[in-house]
């Protein structure tokens, strides 16, 4: 019998528990609804394990200090919501280019601007992909339950460490604030990945030269005896700034490629009853729960409807969606925005299936009935 704990837990709390299980030792952030529980629990728990928590003076500083903590060798995280996610974007781009592993939690609330601070939304999905300037690699995960929040936070850290890149956990107010029963896996059931480090005393260490045959460079921490330079300018394999066209091109293509060639390791999804489906509801986050309920009700009514639940939203599950539309010619994307992820689905299917959208932006969750009504309309 494994030592598993069963308890009622909030999504935001499960996020911290997952982060701690993954080895998080550093948190820097700024208070913002509906993510504040994450900061509060980190403030409580991190000193108990010798970790560090700091409330910074603003959202930008929260992101900057998170990157600093990671450079000093600690697994680092910050959490925010829409307005703060906007403010953090420049430094997120820095982490992508300088290849600093870190995890950014965005508990999405209704926007734009201050919007509806206590209401759920999925309005930051495209911002996660395109929020910072320039091309950059993006990994974004979106849990639908408290247990998935725990699991995907661990996964977010593992991917950040493995690929030396910032990773987003796109929560929404529904999942972040709901409490539900969770069975926490035992420690030995959890896979934890740490960043690759250079060998001690390696005098030939180059901070941005990938390991032989790979795409990710080993990462030393400040204070370990490697004198190396980190910059947000385009840089050579030593880390020093360059204006060289070829070196710049190689760098940007490499950091994109380290995600592109590893999509099978990064992309996670779940499917239900898609084999014979005339229509697939493709959903993510809190909305996927409504979608699942609607699919069950549709099946009870004899409608051939399936569910595709995207757990990794960036990179998108392109290959699998292309396979699915060889049988299923209709896809419905319900989401708490006026049409974001549906654009990616339309791009993927490229006219080979009929894509419908159900958007809602009044600050309330999409109900199963609303999805069912839409299913009947488009089937």
């Amino acid at each position: 019998m494994k030592n598993r704990k069963v308890k009622l837990m909030q999504g935001n709390e499960a996020c911290v528990e997952g982060a701690l299980a993954a080895g998080m030792k550093f948190y820097a952030g700024y208070p913002i609804t509906p993510s504040t529980e994450i900061a509060e629990i980190c403030a409580q728990k991190l000193p108990q394990i010798g970790g560090k928590f700091i409330q910074m003076e603003d959202e930008i500083a929260g992101m900057a200090a998170t990157i600093g903590g990671s450079l000093a060798g600690l697994k680092s995280m910050t959490a925010t919501s829409g307005p703060g996610f906007s403010l953090k974007q420049e430094n997120i781009g820095y982490a992508a280019l300088a290849e600093i592993p870190c995890v950014i939690i965005d508990v999405q609330r209704a926007g734009p601007s201050t919007g509806l601070p206590t209401a759920p939304s999925q309005g930051d999905i495209m911002q996660a992909k395109w929020g910072t300037h320039g091309d950059h690699p993006v990994i974004a995960l979106s849990p639908t339950s408290v247990r998935e929040t725990f699991d995907l936070t661990i996964k977010a850290f593992n991917l950040a460490e493995k690929y030396r890149t910032p990773v987003f956990l796109m929560l929404d107010e529904i999942v972040g604030h709901m409490r539900e029963k969770i069975e926490i896996p035992a420690e030995d059931e959890i896979e934890v990945i740490d960043r690759l480090k250079p060998e001690v005393g390696d005098t030939n260490y180059m901070a941005y030269r990938p390991v032989e045959g790979g795409l990710v460079p080993p990462m030393a921490a400040f204070g370990e005896g490697f004198s190396f330079h980190v910059t947000g300018l385009m840089h050579d394999e030593f880390g020093f700034p360059t204006n060289d066209a070829e070196v710049s091109d190689n760098l940007l293509r490499r950091i994109m490629k380290k995600i592109d060639v590893n999509v099978n390791d990064i992309i996670m999804y779940e499917e239900e009853q898609v084999e014979d489906a005339d229509l697939i509801v493709l959903a993510y986050g809190g909305t996927a729960r409504s979608a699942r309920s609607a699919v069950k009700k549709a099946r009870e009514l004899g409608l051939k409807v399936g569910l595709f639940k995207a757990l990794t939203i960036w990179p998108s599950p392109e290959k699998r969606v292309k396979e699915l539309i060889s049988n299923t010619k209709k896809i419905l994307v319900p989401e708490l925005n006026l049409g974001q992820y549906v654009l990616e689905v339309e791009r993927i299917v490229a006219g080979q299936a009929e894509v419908s959208h159900l958007g809602k932006v009044n600050g309330e969750a999409i109900t199963p009935e609303e999805i069912l009504t839409k299913i009947r309309e488009v089937l």
């Binding site: 108990q48 603003d58 500083a61 900057a64 200090a65 998170t66 600093g68 450079l71 190396f228």
Partner: protein
């Protein structure tokens, strides 16, 4: 302690030199002063981090042979706070400019000072945005010119030292690119202070600030630093009219207060004991 070419070899990435600064720029002198102060303090090189933001000043760490981090505009102190808290064993030195530190990064400056976190900040203050081509900065004096103040600056300038002292820094001083011996000593004291320290290091920018404001050649600008800087201790004994048009250099504040990362370590000990 190393001097001359030994100082260079021990503290600089020789292969990265020469630097990109203009002829007559004071930043090279200031960078060497920082290196000399680090060397004089006998710090463990492995544990020294030099962190900068964006601008002319912020290119300095790339030339210096330590753990170096060139961050985003204005955010050097915020990155530095993360590095220092994550590993308090590190000696963290921030090199920043007047715009980087007091305009876009002003919030991080006052809060780093308020926390009294053990970071040594050296402001390479040239009274202008040099990297972007001569726009007025928060330390450009009123009525002077920049490319974005073509009719004269109508804003008041910050006194960076008063700003830092008022916000809670525990060591505050000003030096210049001319008075290097004194500047090195001030930076040494700043490094040795356990808490947030700031040295306002006055530089020269003949290319933009000098040209825009008819300050003459680089030599003339150096001469201005020599003739118009008055030591704070000397100034105390001088009548007010003798200080007209002058600026003060030397130590302005030196106190001892609880340091942030030490206080945090006490929290860790406290919660671990009570567990």
């Amino acid at each position: 302690m190393h001097t001359g070419s030994e100082l260079l070899k021990n503290n600089f990435r020789m292969e990265r030199l020469p630097h990109i600064w203009c002829p007559g720029c004071g930043h090279g002198i200031l960078m060497k002063a920082v290196a000399q102060a680090i060397d004089n303090c006998n710090l463990d090189k492995k544990k020294v981090c030099v962190i900068s933001g964006i601008g002319c000043s912020s290119r300095a760490p790339g030339y210096m042979d330590f753990n170096t981090l060139h961050t985003t505009h204005g955010r050097a102190l915020a990155f530095a706070t993360g590095v220092k808290l994550a590993n308090p064993e590190l000696k963290v030195i921030v090199i920043t400019g007047d715009g980087d530190c007091t305009a876009i990064g002003g919030n991080h400056l006052i809060h780093s000072a308020r926390r009294n976190i053990d970071i040594t900040t050296i402001v390479f203050n040239n009274n202008i945005y040099g990297m972007t081509g001569g726009q007025y900065s928060p330390t450009t004096p009123t009525a002077e010119f920049g490319t974005t103040a073509p009719f004269g600056n109508i804003e008041k300038a910050f006194d960076v030292c008063k700003l830092a002292a008022g916000a809670g820094a525990t060591y505050v001083a000003r030096g210049t690119a001319y008075h290097t011996t004194q500047l090195i000593k001030l930076i040494e004291s700043a490094i040795e202070n356990k808490g947030f320290s700031l040295v306002d290091a006055i530089s020269t920018c003949p290319t933009y600030y000098g040209r825009k404001n008819k300050k003459g050649s680089a030599v003339d600008m150096m001469k201005y630093l020599k003739d118009f800087a008055v030591d704070a201790k000397v100034a105390e004994k001088l009548p007010k009219e003798k200080l007209d048009g002058k600026f003060l250099i030397g130590e302005f504040k030196k106190t001892t207060e609880p340091e942030y990362t030490e206080e945090y370590m006490k929290i860790i000990e406290m919660v671990r004991e009570s567990k």
